[in-house]
Amino acid sequence: MNEKTIRTIRTALLLAFILLVIGLLVYSRIRAYSLAPTMKSEDFSKYAWYEIPIYYLWNYFSHAWICLLFAFTAAGLVYEFAPKEAITKYMGSSKALGYAIGAGFAPLFTVCSCTMVPLFAGILYTGAGIGPAITFLLMAPAANILTILITGEFISWEIAGVRIPVSLITAVLAGIIISKTPWGKAVEKEHQIAQNPTNDQKTVEIVKPPLDERLISALKFGGYLAKQILPYFLIGLVAVSYVNAYLPQEIVEGYLTGFTGVLLASVIGGPLYTPTLVEIVLGKSLLDLGMSKGALLSWLMGQPYDIPNMVAVSRVVKWKVVLTYALIAWSCSVAFGLAYGLVSGSL
């Protein structure tokens, strides 16, 4: 067999696998099969303490594997086929374009601080400035494809749909405000590099590999993300199972509803470092235990200003900038949580 035939066969097999994954998700939709765990708090009482995580994880993965498989496959594919060259090329060109790209393309770069902090620094250095850089930074963890898919499948597509525009408004607002502050401007001045316009187009000439290699690399990246995220996810789920089993409903209903509920959810949702995606599952169990929808939105919006994220960023810019954006993101999470609670009638 010559190389071309082998490549064609490989491409076909990979595409078949991807179609199978999409097909599974569609099939589960048609059969109205729940992809979220179905165990209720009262089900837990019949198990001993050491049995709780086992039964919960079993219940969880028997339902969630299709969704997780799809999410990681999709994240890998989107990342591989996202027009990275276009993004990096236009990122530094103008302010408005910088904001648009920072907000619009951040969701394509999935949860990986490995990619996020360098891009943040890159946007800052090349001249688009601190505003678009902050927008990118806040948008990436809040509305990336993995987060949105899992929020939609596990909680509801309504809250996933709300999460995108409110994250967008928060991210752009924080970017604009910080670019107007004296300390934001100082950082911008300090980092900007005079670019030589004659050489910047010549030195990047990305070579596109054949389709089969791109597909393999996409699936590999999906696998890599899964390997990075799932161990923490597993530990998080064990914690969630105990929350479900032992946290009395009265406490959740008492504290995580109303105005104080939103406030409390936004305060613990941020600094409390929940590994990516666990905040969604934990949010779902708290919702089942009686947390209001408004508080849930605030809770989910806490992700971008968690502590590890802030520490990584503070290595590039000053603490003052980090604290400003954290404060803005927090205020927005409270404001939008309250607004959503009022509109949806669940505060």
């Binding site: 990275k84 090329k89 360098p118 890159g122 990047v204 000439e205």
Partner: protein
């Protein structure tokens, strides 16, 4: 003996994907050395002003061959790196 300069551009401290990219380049370099192509591997920091001034914003990990970024945002196979280096050495 031909010489090719390869920069592996990643974050510092290196993340897993940047390390895998470096390994792929090292493997490719080893094979090419036998054919008489000398590959010089350098590590560059993606958030340094030198790199950004030279290449602009990049997605890590990136690989530049003879001063031109050929791969970014993914980990290539050693075969692919080998192919690219061989093309640049011509």
């Amino acid at each position: 003996m031909k010489e090719v300069n390869v920069e592996v551009i990643g974050v510092d401290p290196p993340c897993m994907r940047c390390q895998s990219a470096r390994k792929a380049v090292e493997k490719a370099a080893e094979r090419l050395r036998a054919e008489g192509i000398n590959v010089k591997i350098e590590k560059a920091n993606i958030v340094s002003k030198e790199v950004i001034g030279k290449y602009g914003v990049l997605v890590s990990p990136a690989i530049a061959i003879n001063g031109a970024v050929k791969i970014m945002g993914r980990v290539p196979s050693p075969e692919e790196v080998e192919r690219l280096i061989r093309e640049s050495a011509k």
